[in-house]
């Protein structure tokens, strides 16, 4: 698809170049002889109408089984309540979908990264975010994803996805992300 697009751009460029060349040619033409009757003027005949087919439609879709498929169509992150590591009701459907996707693509391995907001001390938050990563892992294993496909890491409060402060930012930063390591399309 990218090639096609590029092809179209290339054609447009070629047309533009041709037009420029012909204009240049016109400019260089010698002036027409003055003598002699002017040639009969005839209106150019319109060419017979021919329908110009539009370029064939290109449909774009995410490659099933790809990392993008996982992120866009499944969702790679689930969120947690303050100081909690239990799977919330709004996280269950996301993790159900993650488990389904991982069952469909059994060659994929993942790493679950636990994160915490900044409202705690460094080491406690490392431990808390490790619990969150493990909660997601346990959920996926209970849904039939074999445990040898899943590793976990805790980043504590060290890798916020939202650099802001306040409850909205903290909520975004209390999460576990399922990151694809290998085996995706």
């Amino acid at each position: 698809m990218l090639i096609r697009l590029n092809g179209r751009i290339a054609i447009r460029l070629a047309i533009a170049a041709a037009a420029a060349l012909s204009m240049a040619a016109c400019a260089k033409k010698a002036p027409p002889p003055v003598a002699g009757p002017p040639p009969a003027v005839t209106q150019p005949q319109a060419p017979p109408q021919q329908p110009v087919a539009p370029p064939p439609a290109v449909s774009q879709s995410i490659l099933p089984g790809s990392q993008q498929d996982f992120i866009v169509n499944v969702g790679d992150r689930v969120y947690f309540d303050t100081d909690q590591y239990s799977i919330r009701a709004d996280a269950s459907p996301v993790l159900d979908a993650q488990a389904g996707w991982l069952r469909r693509y059994p060659g994929v391995t993942v790493r679950i990264e636990g994160n915490a907001d900044e409202r705690g001390t460094r080491e406690y938050n490392l431990a808390l975010a490790a619990r969150r990563a493990n909660s997601v892992r346990d959920f996926l294993v209970a849904q039939g994803v074999t445990s040898d496909r899943i590793s976990t890491i805790s980043y504590g409060k060290e890798q916020p996805i939202d650099a802001g402060t306040g409850e909205e930012a903290w909520q975004r930063n209390r999460n576990a992300r399922t990151s694809i390591l290998s085996g995706a399309q």
């Binding site: 080491e123 916020p160 939202d162």
Partner: protein
């Protein structure tokens, strides 16, 4: 006459110390709700000792040395270095007795003077400490060092003055290992760094390509331990500052973090997170065998040995919220020591004297650095901010350093004395977190 004045002067110094101790004890003995008020009332009563530190003779390096001594004494909060412009006697020579009336007139209680000479390519610094009102010399010492070490001489003189006048060991000839932070909050570069306690001479020990956290000094001061975090796992390292040699504590099932040396340097306590559960382990560095000290299904982390090595204070949320617990260093007799209503306690650190435990406390939307007795009694809150965390003790147990972060801002190093009276940023120009104070250097 002279003896009388000398005693009177010593009494003043002694009174100062007693006053400081009194503040501390009053604070810790008062009920928590009243502690802050007590401190505020008493804070104004403490008068730092006026001290004169004229520029040492011997050129620029002499003046530089006096400048460092003045800054050290000033930052301790126990001394008030007098403005050199007010000095009446100029060009004080160490060979002569100071003109005491000149110093009494500006109310200098103590006077430090000295001279720097070159002795075969080495710096030689002679200095004297005088009791102005007793007209008596309290110290007369000589230090020699290579010229690039002039700051260490200044720190050693500061320690000598501090110890002679307060009766307690100083803490100026020390270093601090910490994590230098730069970059935006969501793309932060963290480098293991060591500097002098006054924020000068920073030297990077790691290049920032890997996340590093929570360094701690060994009591030998030549070795540090810290945690490194990569996407594929964490590692606890031992790093020898003299040789630059770095070695891993080993491979563990699970994620390792929160390393701390035992007081004899022979063991390292740390946490392992495995299957979502964090427990405390200890490794004997000689035999490389490790044993598990806690096995509760809760978060157990941030261990800190008592100075006699017999006990460990740590952080656990086994009660439902993070609180502090003490156990034998073999894991025996685990008992809770904090019961603060609505308070979350983390990062306990046993004081060098064994008497106190410093901690981070979270109440509502605020963070505090505080100290309590080792049994959990007499809690005393020293700081309040958006985010204060991770105290470390100066080797004499008088000052705590910690990291402070403003909302949306950078983390910076701060210090506070145990009375809570002297709270100030550490004069390191960049961002920093996780400070750990070295023992006194040799």
């Amino acid at each position: 006459m002279s003896l009388f004045l000398y005693r009177r002067s010593l009494m003043r110094l002694h009174t100062l110390l007693v006053a400081l101790m009194a503040i501390f004890m009053t604070g810790v003995l008062a009920p928590p709700a009243r502690a802050e008020i007590e401190v505020n009332v008493n804070r104004g009563d403490v008068q730092p000792l006026p001290i004169a530190v004229p520029a040492f003779g011997g050129g620029q390096v002499g003046a530089d040395i006096s400048g460092v001594i003045m800054a050290n004494l000033q930052r301790s909060g126990l001394f008030r270095p007098l403005e050199p412009a007010s000095f009446i006697e100029k060009d004080l020579n160490t060979a002569d007795i100071p003109r005491f009336p000149d110093w009494k007139q500006i109310n200098a209680q103590a006077l430090v003077n000295g001279v720097v000479t070159n002795e075969g390519g080495r710096l030689r610094v002679d200095f004297r400490l005088w009791d102005v009102f007793a007209e008596n010399q309290l110290l007369g010492l000589t230090f020699t060092a290579s010229p690039e070490n002039w700051r260490r001489i200044a720190h050693k003189i500061s320690d000598a003055v501090y110890e002679r006048l307060t009766g307690e060991k100083g803490y100026f000839d020390t270093r601090v290992v910490f994590v230098a932070e730069s970059g935006s909050r969501d793309k932060r570069t963290k480098r293991l760094t060591i500097m002098d306690q006054d924020g000068v001479n920073p030297s990077y020990l790691t290049d920032g390509s890997t996340m590093v956290m929570t360094p701690r000094f060994s009591s030998t001061s030549q070795e540090i331990t810290y945690m490194s975090l990569r996407p594929n796992g964490s590692t606890i390292y031992l790093y020898n500052l003299e040789s630059g040699r770095r070695e891993s504590l080993g491979n563990f099932e699970g994620m390792v973090f929160a390393p701390r040396f035992s007081p004899d340097g022979g063991r390292v306590a740390f946490s392992v997170a495995r299957g979502g559960n964090s427990d405390i382990f200890v490794m004997n560095l000689k035999s490389r065998s490790s044993s598990r000290l806690t096995s509760d299904p809760s978060i157990d982390t941030s261990p800190s040995f008592s100075p006699d090595g017999a006990s460990i204070v740590f952080n656990s949320d086994r009660s439902g919220s993070p609180q502090l617990y003490v156990m034998g260093s073999d894991g025996s007799n685990q008992r809770r020591i904090t019961f603060g209503e609505g308070g979350r306690y983390t990062t306990p650190v046993w004081s060098p004297t064994g008497e106190f435990i410093a901690f981070t406390k979270q109440t509502g939307g605020e963070f505090h650095i505080g100290v309590m007795r080792a049994d959990g009694g007499d809690e005393r809150i020293l700081t309040t901010s958006y985010l204060d965390e991770g105290p470390t003790w100066a080797p004499n147990g008088r000052v705590l350093m910690f990291s402070r972060e403003t909302a949306g801002g950078q983390s910076q190093l701060w210090s506070v004395d145990v009375t809570g009276r002297v709270l100030q940023p550490v004069p390191y120009p960049g961002g920093g977190s996780d400070p750990a104070w070295s023992p006194l250097l040799n």
